[in-house]
């Protein structure tokens, strides 16, 4: 299945990537697993380590590591928000 992944703010800059379309490996079903998969790319992608203070959304709602993913989903990773 294919999903869209977006990156924002300081994370987008450190990855030098605003977004990508990703074909998920067979059996990858959760947000936490996707994060682990991206982290495994190494280099700048180590910013996606589970220990780092990052937030995530699935289909534009805040999501947790156990959130399940489906074909066509829009996933976003970003730093804690600083609006207002």
């Amino acid at each position: 299945m294919a999903i869209r992944v977006l990156y924002f703010a300081a994370l987008r800059e450190s990855l030098d990537c605003a977004g990508e379309t990703l074909e998920l490996p067979e059996g990858m079903r959760t947000l936490g697993a996707l994060r682990e998969h991206l982290h495994a790319r190494g280099g700048a992608w180590s910013a996606l380590a589970q220990t780092k203070n990052l937030r995530a959304a699935v289909n534009r709602s805040m999501a947790q590591p156990d959130s399940t993913l489906a074909d066509g989903d829009e996933v976003a990773f970003f730093p804690p928000v600083t609006g207002g």
Binding site: N53, A57, S61, F78, T82, G83, G84
Partner: protein, 149 residues
């Protein structure tokens, strides 16, 4: 009325008038305006750029307003948040809440700001004499939001 995310400035008086002008049952109208400060974390701030997540931002703000309307007796709530390039003194955010009595309007205004600070996908990047820097999230904002749990 409602939620807006926009580059341009807003007129506080006009937004208050929009919620109160056409009716006579509003007894209280509370508003909050957030502005760009010229100092932060010990450095001068020459300006900032505000990034957001189009599509999610509006949704997050609408959800916060819906929660406020479930918690207090409100007639209306307006939230306007700007994005793009801003300078010290510029308005960033406006919350207006109307109700029959002040307690609901005051509380709703504070609640919307506390939740917006921790749940709406905006990120500030400041320009300082030392260069550009992303603003770090503050623990105090999490504490402020958690008092409504």
């Amino acid at each position: 009325m409602g939620v807006r995310v926009q580059r341009q400035d807003f007129d506080v008086g006009a937004e208050i008038e929009a919620l109160t002008g056409a009716r006579t049952d509003v007894g209280a109208c509370a508003s909050f305006v957030g502005l760009v400060r010229d100092r932060n974390d010990g450095s001068g701030v020459a300006g900032m750029s505000l990034e957001h997540y189009p599509g999610m931002t509006e949704r997050a703000l609408e959800e916060i307003v819906a929660q406020a309307k479930r918690r207090w007796r409100l007639f209306d709530v307006t939230v306007i948040h700007r994005h793009g390039a801003l300078r010290p003194g510029d308005r960033i955010v406006l919350v207006v809440a109307t109700s029959a009595h002040r307690a609901d309007a005051f509380a709703a205004c504070e609640f919307v700001m506390d939740y917006l600070k921790t749940r709406a996908p905006f990120w500030k990047k400041e320009r300082t004499p030392e260069g550009e820097r992303w603003v770090d999230a503050r623990e105090a904002d999490d504490t402020a939001a958690s008092r409504w749990d």
